[in-house]
C-alpha cells in the first residue's frame, strides 16, 4: 500500500514539473511583456531597457534556470503588475477560489447523491423523470448564461441576494449555485446510473427478503457499491472547477485565482501565471492522490492489484 501511494505521489510530482516547464515555455512564446506593459508609443530603447531589466531578453533556458533556482529558495518571482511576490498574491486569492469550489462540489455531491439514489432506486417514476430533466438541463446550461439569469431573476428583480461582490454568506449563494450546476447535473446522472445497476444485483433481493427497510437497502447497501463511479467523476469535476471559477469569479467580481490567472495571461504577468499553475497544480495532484487512496479504501480489489503491481 505504501508503495502504491509513493508511486502515485512520484507520478504526481513528475506531472507537476512537466506542467510547470510547459507553462514556462508556452507563456514566453505568446509574446513580449514589454509590448503590453509599455504604451504603444514607447520607444524601442524603452522596450529594450524594460526587457533587460526583467531578464526577458535572456534565452529561455537561462530564464528557466533562474526561476527554478528561485523556487528552491521559496522565491516564485515578483508580479510585474503588482510589484509584490507572486506567491503572496496567489495565496491571497486562493481561499476564495477554494471556498467557491468546495461549496460548489460539496453541495453538488450531497444533492446528487440524494436525488440520484432516490430516482435510481425507482427508475421511470415521476421523481426519476423530473430529476432526469433537471440534471440534464444543469449539465448543459453554460455557466456564464446561468450566472446572468440568476443575477437578473434573484438579485435585480427578486432582491433576494446581492448581484455580485464579496461580503457575508448572502454574497456566496448565487456564485455557488452557478458553479454547482454542472457538477450537480453530471453527478446526478452518474449516481442514478450506478444505482440502477446496483439495485439489480442479487444482494438487494437478499436484503429485501430478509426484511431490511427500503431506505436502508437503497442508501446503505446499493449506494455503497455505486460509490466507485461517483468518486471517479467527482474527482474529475473537482479539477474542472478551476475552469468554472474563471467564469464565475469574473462575472460575480470575486477576487479568486481564476480571475487572477486570466488577467495575468492577458497582461503577460509570467510570475503570476506560473505561481497560479504551481499552486492549483499541487492541489489537483494532492486531490488525485486522495481520490486514489479513497478508491483503495472503497474497492479492495485495487488494494490487491496494487500489492501485486
Amino acid at each position: 500500500m505504501i508503495r502504491y501511494i509513493t508511486q502515485r505521489a512520484l507520478l504526481g510530482f513528475a506531472t507537476l514539473i512537466g506542467v510547470v516547464l510547459l507553462v514556462f515555455v508556452a507563456v514566453r512564446l505568446t509574446g513580449d511583456p514589454a509590448m503590453l506593459y509599455l504604451p504603444l508609443d514607447a520607444s524601442q530603447e524603452a522596450r529594450d531597457h524594460f526587457s533587460a531589466q526583467h531578464g526577458f531578453d535572456d534565452p529561455i533556458p537561462v530564464q528557466l534556470l533562474a526561476y527554478v533556482a528561485g523556487i528552491l529558495h521559496g522565491d516564485f518571482g515578483v508580479s510585474l503588475r503588482r510589484s509584490e511576490p507572486a506567491l503572496q498574491v496567489v495565496l491571497q486569492h486562493y481561499p476564495n477560489t477554494l471556498l467557491l469550489a468546495f461549496l460548489g462540489l460539496a453541495g453538488a455531491l450531497v444533492l446528487a447523491v440524494v436525488l440520484g439514489a432516490a430516482s435510481g432506486a425507482k427508475p421511470m417514476s415521476r421523481l426519476d423523470r423530473g430529476t432526469g430533466v433537471v440534471s440534464l438541463a444543469c449539465a448543459s446550461i453554460p455557466d456564464f448564461w446561468l450566472a446572468l439569469v440568476l443575477i437578473f431573476g434573484l438579485a435585480v428583480r427578486g432582491g433576494l441576494f446581492p448581484t455580485s461582490g464579496t461580503g457575508g454568506p448572502e454574497y456566496w449563494v448565487l456564485p455557488v449555485v452557478t458553479i454547482m450546476a454542472r457538477p450537480f447535473g453530471l453527478l446526478t446522472q452518474v449516481v442514478r446510473g450506478a444505482m440502477v445497476d446496483a439495485m439489480a444485483a442479487p444482494y438487494i433481493a437478499t436484503g429485501r427478503s430478509k426484511g431490511l427497510p427500503e431506505r436502508r437497502v437503497v442508501f446503505v447497501h446499493a449506494l455503497r457499491n455505486a460509490w466507485l463511479p461517483i468518486v471517479t467523476v467527482a474527482g474529475d469535476l473537482a479539477v474542472s472547477l478551476v475552469n468554472g471559477a474563471i467564469v464565475v469569479e469574473s462575472v460575480f467580481g470575486i477576487p479568486g485565482v481564476g480571475r487572477l490567472l486570466i488577467d495575468a495571461v492577458y497582461q503577460r504577468d509570467f510570475a503570476i501565471v506560473q505561481a497560479v499553475i504551481i499552486v492549483t497544480g499541487t492541489t489537483i495532484i494532492l486531490l488525485n492522490l486522495a481520490i486514489d487512496l479513497l478508491y483503495a479504501r472503497i474497492n479492495p480489489r485495487i488494494r490487491v492489484e496494487a500489492r501485486f503491481a
Binding site: M35, D41, S43, R81
Partner: protein
C-alpha cells in the same frame, strides 16, 4: 447483526461529512468581514469594467487608473477644462515661456499632500525625476514625452519650477495637465502602492479584487466636495453593472454596452474621444495600390455599422481624431458609401496588373470594444462584395501589438488591422506622429510630404499655425495616403442611480471628478 464492519458505514458517513463541511463553510462565510465599512454607512459606489493594475500617478493615462486618480487623488500643474478645452491652472497658478523651450511655472502656495508633506518646487522636481526614471518605465513619460524630453527641471524658487526642453514645445502646458504630482515620499524605485497626492480625496483602502475606497481629504486646498467617500468596484460584464444600478448597489456604472440600455434608465452619453478605425498596411501588395485603399473606404457602410453594431451610439468618422482636437481638418468630408465605384476601382487596378485576388488578412481584436467581432464580420462581407479576398483572423493584445508596431515583418501578408484610438489630449501630435509619419511606430505608409508638414507643425510656436499645419497633413493623408478606414467616433454610455447628480463630459471616459458629483437627497 448489530456489529457492522467499519467499511460498510462509509457511504452514509461520507455523506454526512460532506453535509458537515457544507454547513461549516457557510458558517465560515458568515464570519468573513462584510464589505460595508462601519462609520461610513453610504458611500458613493462607482462600478467600472476593470480593476486598475496599479494606482501609480506616473501611469495615470490608462483610463481604469485615471478614473480613480485624476483630479480626485492626484492633481497636475495645469488642467484642461472639459467644457472649453482651455488649459487652466491647477497646482500652478501661472506659467510662461519666451521660446517654448524654457518654461517657468509659478506654484500654488499653502498646498499639502495627503501624507502631510508640503507641496513646493522640490516636490515637483522629485516627481519629474521619478517620472523619467527608466527603470520605472512610467506610461506617462513614454506616451507623452520623448520627444520632447526635459533636459533639466530646476527649483528656481520655493514655489517656482523651470523646465528646459530639448526642443520647442508650444503645448507643454497642456502636456503637463497629464502629469500628476505625487508626494515626494512616494517610493522612488517601485510602483506597487496607491498614489498619495494633493487632491480632494485620499485612497484609504485598496482591497485588491474587491474595491478601492476614497475618503474626503480634510486639508484640501480647494473647495471641499459634497460627497464624503466613494468606493470603486469592478465587474467585467456590462449587464451586471447595469443590474447593480437597478438593485441599488451602485450609483454610477461606466462603460454600458448599447444593448444593455433599458428604456427609462438614467443613462448619459458623451463623445468619449475614441475613434474606431482599421489600419491598412499600405506597404504590401496589393494594398500598396491606393485605388484598393480607396475602394475599401468606399465599400464601407459606416452608418449601417453604427446602427447595428453600436446601437446608434456613435457618429461617422472621416479622420483619426475627433472635432475638438487641435489639428482636426473640418473641411474633409465623410466617405461616400458607393460599393459600385469601389468595385470599379478594384477592377481598374486588376486591369493594370495588380493581383486583387491575393488573400488579405483582416486582423480582428474582439476585445477592443463592444461588438468588435461583429464589426469585422460585417466589413469582411462588404469588402468581399467588391471583389477582394478577405480572411478574418482574431488576435489578442500581444500579437496585435507586434502587427501594429514597426519594424514590420518583411515577409508579412497583405493585412488590415482592427484598431481604436483615443486622443484624450486634445492635440493632433499624439495621433499623427506615431500613426502616419514614415518612421512612426504605428505607421504602415510613408509620405515625405506629410512628414514635412508634421515636422513644421511640431515646432510652430503659434498654436493656430500648428492647427493649420496638422489639418493640412490630414488632408494629405486623406487624398494621397489613405492608410486607414476610419469608422466611427464613439460615445461612452454611463448609467446613474436615482440619487446621484452628475453630468458627463467629453473627458468622462478617463476623468470622473467626484467633486462634480452630489447626492440629490
Amino acid at each position: 447483526m448489530n456489529r457492522t464492519p467499519a467499511g460498510q458505514r462509509r457511504p452514509a458517513a461520507l455523506g454526512s461529512v460532506a453535509l458537515l463541511a457544507l454547513g461549516s463553510l457557510v458558517g465560515l462565510a458568515a464570519c468573513s468581514p462584510s464589505s460595508s465599512t462601519p462609520g461610513d454607512p453610504d458611500p458613493l459606489v462607482v462600478v467600472m469594467p476593470e480593476e486598475p493594475t496599479s494606482l501609480d500617478a506616473c501611469d495615470s493615462l490608462n483610463s481604469s487608473r485615471s478614473r480613480v486618480l485624476r483630479g480626485n487623488v492626484v492633481e497636475a500643474l495645469s488642467t484642461r477644462d472639459a467644457a472649453t478645452g482651455e488649459v487652466e491652472p491647477q497646482l500652478a497658478t501661472s506659467w510662461s515661456s519666451e521660446d517654448s523651450v524654457t518654461w517657468v511655472f509659478e506654484l500654488r502656495e499653502g498646498v499639502t499632500f495627503q501624507d502631510g508633506e508640503p507641496f513646493d518646487a522640490a516636490a515637483v522636481v522629485t516627481a519629474m525625476d521619478r517620472l523619467f526614471d527608466e527603470d520605472l518605465a512610467c506610461d506617462n513619460a513614454n506616451d507623452l514625452f520623448r520627444p520632447p524630453t526635459p533636459v533639466s527641471v530646476e527649483a528656481t524658487g520655493d514655489h517656482e519650477v523651470t523646465f528646459t526642453l530639448d526642443q520647442p514645445d508650444p503645448i507643454f502646458a497642456l502636456r503637463m495637465s497629464f502629469i500628476q504630482i505625487p508626494s515626494p515620499k512616494t517610493p522612488a524605485d517601485s510602483k506597487g502602492e496607491a498614489a498619495v497626492g494633493t487632491g480632494p480625496y485620499e485612497i484609504t483602502e485598496w482591497a485588491h479584487g474587491e474595491y478601492i475606497q476614497l475618503d474626503r481629504f480634510d486639508d484640501y486646498w480647494g473647495q471641499a466636495p459634497q460627497i464624503a467617500s466613494a468606493r470603486f468596484v469592478f465587474r467585467a460584464e456590462s449587464p451586471v453593472r447595469v443590474g447593480m444600478i437597478t438593485s441599488g448597489e451602485a450609483d454610477l456604472a461606466i462603460g454600458i454596452a448599447a444593448q444593455d440600455v433599458a428604456e427609462g434608465a438614467r443613462v448619459q452619453t458623451f463623445e468619449n474621444g475614441e475613434t474606431t478605425y482599421f489600419r491598412i498596411d499600405a506597404e504590401v501588395a496589393p494594398l500598396d495600390d491606393i485605388r484598393l485603399r480607396q475602394a475599401l473606404n468606399l465599400a464601407t457602410d459606416r452608418q449601417a455599422i453604427i446602427d447595428s453594431a453600436f446601437g446608434g451610439y456613435a457618429s461617422v468618422a472621416h479622420e483619426i481624431f475627433v472635432p475638438s482636437t487641435l489639428g482636426y481638418n473640418e473641411e474633409l468630408e465623410d466617405w461616400e458609401y458607393d460599393p459600385q465605384r469601389a468595385a470599379e476601382l478594384v477592377q481598374e487596378a486588376a486591369a493594370d496588373g495588380v493581383d486583387v485576388s491575393k488573400e488579405i488578412v483582416l486582423y480582428g481584436r474582439p476585445d477592443f470594444y463592444p461588438n468588435a467581432r461583429e464589426v469585422t464580420e460585417i466589413l469582411a462581407a462588404q469588402w468581399q462584395a467588391i471583389g477582394l479576398n478577405i480572411r478574418i483572423e482574431n488576435v489578442e493584445g500581444g500579437p496585435w501589438g507586434e502587427l501594429l508596431l514597426r519594424p514590420h515583418d518583411p515577409g508579412r501578408q497583405p493585412n488590415i488591422l482592427q484598431s481604436s484610438h483615443g486622443n484624450t489630449t486634445g492635440d493632433a501630435s499624439f495621433s499623427v506622429v506615431s500613426k502616419y509619419t514614415c518612421e512612426g511606430s504605428q505607421s504602415a505608409s510613408c509620405s515625405p510630404e506629410l512628414d514635412a508638414l508634421v515636422e513644421q507643425a511640431l515646432t510652430a510656436t503659434d498654436l493656430e499655425e500648428r492647427a493649420r499645419l496638422f489639418a493640412e497633413a490630414m488632408k494629405v493623408e486623406r487624398e494621397d495616403v489613405v492608410q486607414d478606414v476610419d469608422l466611427a467616433y464613439m460615445q461612452g454610455i454611463i448609467q446613474l442611480s436615482d440619487r446621484l447628480d452628475y453630468t458627463a463630459t467629453v473627458q468622462s471616459d478617463f476623468e470622473l471628478l467626484l467633486s462634480d458629483m452630489s447626492f440629490t437627497s
